[in-house]
Each structure stands twice: as structure tokens, then as C-alpha cells.
């Protein structure tokens, strides 16, 4: 693999109680690229994504083995607040807070200690511009975020994540609750964002993975083991010439 990596996952396993949800995953996330994680339902793609910013910590019976490094530091032995500042997340369903558009985007900078009004306003404007939402909301920043359409809400959530200036943005099926037009906008936005950020996206949609990602990881649960990384490589290669027959079968829609 060429280029720098921002996250190194080595022999990483995840357990929920006695259930092993991820099985010894080793993969490097390249910087300023879009990496897609694909696979059928229940294969562990969301679990893997949520391991990168430790959202799995919310489950009390969770346990890990192996390591995930970000900038050389182990994700599981550093301060979780610092980690989540570096690794932002966008969820499957748009989840703006019940606050104004402005306060949604200002939420992150505020909790991280920025009080200055002008500085906040500048961060909010830049983040909303970067999320390609500015022209649609610039006159309505004081309105409730719930007045926006689903697609706009999702871009607001992206702006909210950008406002914390992360290095990596995790996206958990960010367009699955949106219509095709809104989906296209999100995909165009991802393309634009990768010059400044590293993106890891979980998707059910094979065409989406092929369209937007530079690298693809294919996860599968087989009869013996759950959460296996079957194949990981450049997207074009994987979609034209997969090295594993199971990848080929999945991509061609023969199962899953």
C-alpha cells in the first residue's frame, strides 16, 4: 500500500461478553483517502468502525485484544475525549441536537473550551461552508435544526463533526436514510472533504463503495468465525479483480 497511514489496526479482536464480534483484524487506514468497509448485515462493519473512536465503550461487556494506533498512539490507552476530538463520527440517521443550527455546530468547539463569540461564529461558518450547506442555511442559523430536510440535517451533522477539526471522520452508512439526490450530495461532499480529512465509511451499498472509495475492506461472518476481514485493498482492484472468490460472490450480488 502506498502513502501514509493514519490508523494502524493490528490483530484487533472485539468481544461482547463471550461473543467474538471481530476476529483479529489487521488493516491500515491511508491518510486523505476514503476507505469503505463493506459486507453483509451482522458481519461486524459497524463494530469495527465504532472501535476507531471507542463508541463501543458504551457497551459494558465489551473487551478488546490487539491494537488500533492513531498517529502511533494506542486508541484504547489514551484519553477518550482527546481521541474523539481527533476521530469524528457521522451516524446512520441524521441526529442533530434539539438546538439551533448555529448551536449544533458550535457544540463541539464550546465543550472544548472556545468561548469567544467571534471565533465561534467563524468556526461555525467555515464548518457549514465545508459541509456544502452554507448557502442553504446562512439566513436561518438561529432556526431549529429540525426545520431542515433529512439530507440537510446529515450535512449539518457533518459540519458539526468538522467544527472539532478531526483528522479522521467515521461515517456509519451516512446516506442510508436519505433519498438519491441527497445521497449524491453527501457523496460529492465526501469526495471534496478527503483533501483535508481521512474518511472511513461503512456502507451497505456496493455501488456507493465503488463510486466514492479509494480502498475497500470486505468483512464477512462465516460458519466458524464472525467478523473476518476477507480482503482489503484498492477499490478498483477489488471490484474488477477480487482475489477471494467470496468477495467476488458478494460484489456480484450472489449473497448478502
Amino acid at each position: 500500500m502506498t502513502g501514509k497511514t493514519v490508523m494502524k489496526t493490528s490483530n484487533f479482536s472485539l468481544f461482547y461478553g463471550s461473543f467474538k464480534a471481530l476476529h483479529s483484524i489487521t488493516m491500515d487506514i491511508p491518510v486523505n483517502r476514503i476507505t469503505a468497509i463493506i459486507g453483509p448485515s451482522g458481519c461486524g462493519k459497524s463494530s469495527l468502525l465504532r472501535s476507531f473512536n471507542r463508541m463501543n465503550d458504551l457497551i459494558s461487556s465489551m473487551r478488546t485484544e490487539g491494537s488500533i494506533l492513531i498517529d502511533g498512539k494506542n486508541v484504547y490507552s489514551q484519553d477518550v475525549v482527546e481521541l474523539r476530538k481527533k476521530v469524528g463520527m457521522v451516524f446512520q440517521r441524521p441526529n442533530p441536537f434539539p438546538k439551533s443550527i448555529f448551536d449544533n455546530v458550535a457544540y463541539g468547539p464550546r465543550i472544548h473550551g472556545i468561548r469567544d463569540k467571534y471565533k465561534l461564529a467563524a468556526i461555525v461558518e467555515q464548518s457549514i461552508r465545508d459541509a456544502a450547506l452554507w448557502d442553504e442555511v446562512k439566513d436561518d442559523l438561529g432556526k431549529s435544526a429540525f426545520t431542515l430536510s433529512g439530507g440537510q440535517q446529515q450535512r449539518l451533522c457533518i459540519a458539526r463533526a468538522l467544527a472539532v477539526e478531526p483528522e479522521v471522520i467515521l461515517m456509519d452508512e451516512p446516506a442510508s436514510a436519505l433519498d438519491p439526490v441527497a445521497t449524491l450530495k453527501i457523496e460529492e461532499l465526501m469526495e471534496k472533504l478527503k483533501s483535508k480529512y481521512t474518511i472511513v465509511v461503512v456502507t451497505h451499498n456496493m455501488q456507493q463503495a465503488a463510486r466514492v472509495s479509494d480502498y475497500t475492506a470486505f468483512l464477512l461472518t462465516d460458519s466458524e468465525r464472525s467478523g473476518n476481514l476477507i480482503e482489503f485493498g484498492p477499490t478498483t482492484e477489488m471490484f474488477t479483480n477480487p482475489s477471494d472468490t467470496r468477495t467476488e460472490d458478494y460484489i456480484c450480488g450472489r449473497f448478502g
Binding site: N53, L58, F91, R93, N95, F97, P98, G108, S144, V164
Partner: protein, 289 residues
């Protein structure tokens, strides 16, 4: 079958209406002969001399309710937040039924507890004229009595805040406490307010426990020292207590004045409870801001 159920439903409406009408009819002579204005604004209640002002009782009920809210709300909200956000499920499974059990204790038992435990402790506050019986003791007892109502409604409201808000906040690097403060409590705001209003309604209606600890003197409570808080060491009487204490021997206009007290209480509680209902149904998340 359908009609017998309809009858059951109508019966309860009919009973409420009959109680309302009956109470109002009995109160009518008082409203006519004493006048609503005199009833509400006169401070002297001397049935023997034909003086029927219930201002002292309004003040008593108002102050004891205020005291109970001030003492009980922080406790109840703290408990609700702890149960819904912090407690391990096993601990929650133990604490929650305990809180709910408080609702099942008969109010006369609360009164006994107040007389035997709270009143002697309050009597220890060294201020002339302090007997222990009074607003402060009553506020403490009442605070405990409204605890389960506020806790369970507020806890339900907090638990109904979508988990997506929680995750969204945590994913931005907020701590658990910041998430509770800035996202969860604002998200549950309307439910929390209606929990407090429901507690208020319960506090206004409480009778026997209040009679047992509040002292029942018909006076407008006043501060006995320079500290305005000493008003809470004053004896007082509640609207409910006024009726319960005197109705056994009251006749004529006196009896009617007690019914008038009931009507005023009735109206007050209907207003409080309907505003709680209104807040619950109209204060949904979408309406915030």
C-alpha cells in the same frame, strides 16, 4: 359489552361532575354572603365572629408547597438522572422500586414520621417561639411525599431522549456529564417541567400529613427574626387542613365557607394538573426553540 364499558367510562365523568357541582352548590351561600373578594383577601378566619378570610390558608398552602418544591425537586431530579443515566442496571433495578414504594406509603404514616422524627429535630433550631411544628417540618415531609411522583415522571422523560443525541454528543468528545447537562436535560425539559408541576399538584392536595406537622394555627406566616427564612419556622394551616379540621362541627355559613375553600382548592389543582398535561403534550422536542 360495549355499552357496559361505555357506562363505566361515563360513570367516572359523572362522578367528577357531581362532586364539582355539589361542592359548588354548598359553597354558594359563602360566595353570596361573604363574597369571593372577602374570602380571598381577608386574613381573619374567626367563624364565631362571622369572619371568613382564607388568605392565611392560601399563604400556608403556597409556602409549604414552595418549600417542598425547593427541597424536593433537586433531590428528585438528581435521583432521576442517576437512575436513568448513571446507575448500573442492577442498582437501578433495586433503587427504582424503593423510590416507587415511597408513593405507596399512606400519608398518615408520613405524618407520624414527621411528628416523631422531623418535628423534634426542627425544634432544635434555637429561635424563640419555635415549637418544631410549622412550615419547615411540613415542607420536609411534603418534599419526601412528592419525591416518587417527580422522580418517576422525570426519569421517564430522560430515558425517552433518543440515544442518537447521546451518541452524537459523546462522539464529539463531550464527557458523560457534559452530555447530560447540555443535551439530555434540555432534550427532556418539557417532561421534567411537567414532572415538577405534577408534584406541585400532589403537594397542594396533601391533607392529613400536613395537619399532623404544620401546627394548624390560622395566621399569616411571618418571619420571627431578621432572617427572612425564619418565616418557615412559623406555624400555618393549609387549605386542605382547614376543611378537614373544622368540617365536623361546622354549620351554616361556616360549613359553606369550608366548601368554598374546597372549590378554590379544586380550581387550583385543576389548573395545575391541566398545565402539566398541556406541557407534556405540547412541549415535544420539535417545539424547542
Amino acid at each position: 359489552m360495549k355499552y357496559s364499558l361505555l357506562f363505566a367510562a361515563l360513570a367516572s365523568i359523572l362522578i367528577v361532575m357531581m362532586i364539582g357541582i355539589f361542592t359548588f352548590r354548598e359553597a354558594l351561600p359563602a360566595f353570596r354572603d361573604i363574597g369571593v373578594k372577602n374570602l380571598l383577601t381577608e386574613s381573619a378566619w374567626r367563624p364565631g365572629e362571622g369572619q371568613y378570610g382564607i388568605l392565611a390558608m392560601i399563604a400556608g398552602s403556597g409556602l409549604v408547597t414552595l418549600g417542598a418544591i425547593v427541597l424536593g425537586v433537586p433531590l428528585a431530579l438528581g435521583c432521576a438522572i442517576f437512575l436513568s443515566e448513571i446507575a448500573h442496571p442492577n442498582l437501578r433495578a433495586f433503587v427504582k422500586p424503593c423510590v416507587e414504594l415511597l408513593a405507596g406509603i399512606p400519608s398518615v404514616v408520613y405524618g407520624l414520621f414527621g411528628m416523631v422524627i422531623i418535628v423534634p429535630v426542627v425544634r432544635g433550631i434555637d429561635i424563640p417561639g419555635n415549637t418544631g411544628f410549622g412550615l419547615f417540618s411540613a415542607s420536609i415531609v411534603l418534599a419526601v411525599m412528592i419525591l416518587p411522583t417527580i422522580t418517576s415522571v422525570a426519569e421517564h422523560a430522560i430515558r425517552s431522549v433518543p440515544k442518537e443525541f447521546r451518541e452524537g454528543s459523546l462522539a464529539l468528545g463531550a464527557t458523560k456529564w457534559e452530555t447530560i447537562q447540555k443535551v439530555i436535560i434540555p432534550g427532556a425539559r418539557s417532561g421534567i417541567i411537567s414532572a415538577i408541576v405534577l408534584g406541585l399538584g400532589r403537594a397542594l392536595g396533601e391533607t392529613i400529613a400536613m395537619i399532623m406537622v404544620i401546627g394548624n394555627s390560622v395566621i399569616i406566616p411571618a418571619a420571627s427574626t431578621d432572617n427572612p427564612l425564619s418565616i418557615f419556622l412559623s406555624r400555618a394551616r393549609t387549605l386542605t387542613g382547614n376543611i378537614a379540621v373544622e368540617i365536623n362541627y361546622a354549620t351554616g355559613l361556616h360549613e359553606s365557607a369550608l366548601f368554598a375553600t374546597g372549590v378554590i382548592l379544586f380550581v387550583l389543582i385543576i389548573v395545575v394538573n391541566s398545565s402539566a398535561k398541556y406541557l407534556m403534550s405540547h412541549g415535544s422536542l420539535e417545539k424547542i426553540r
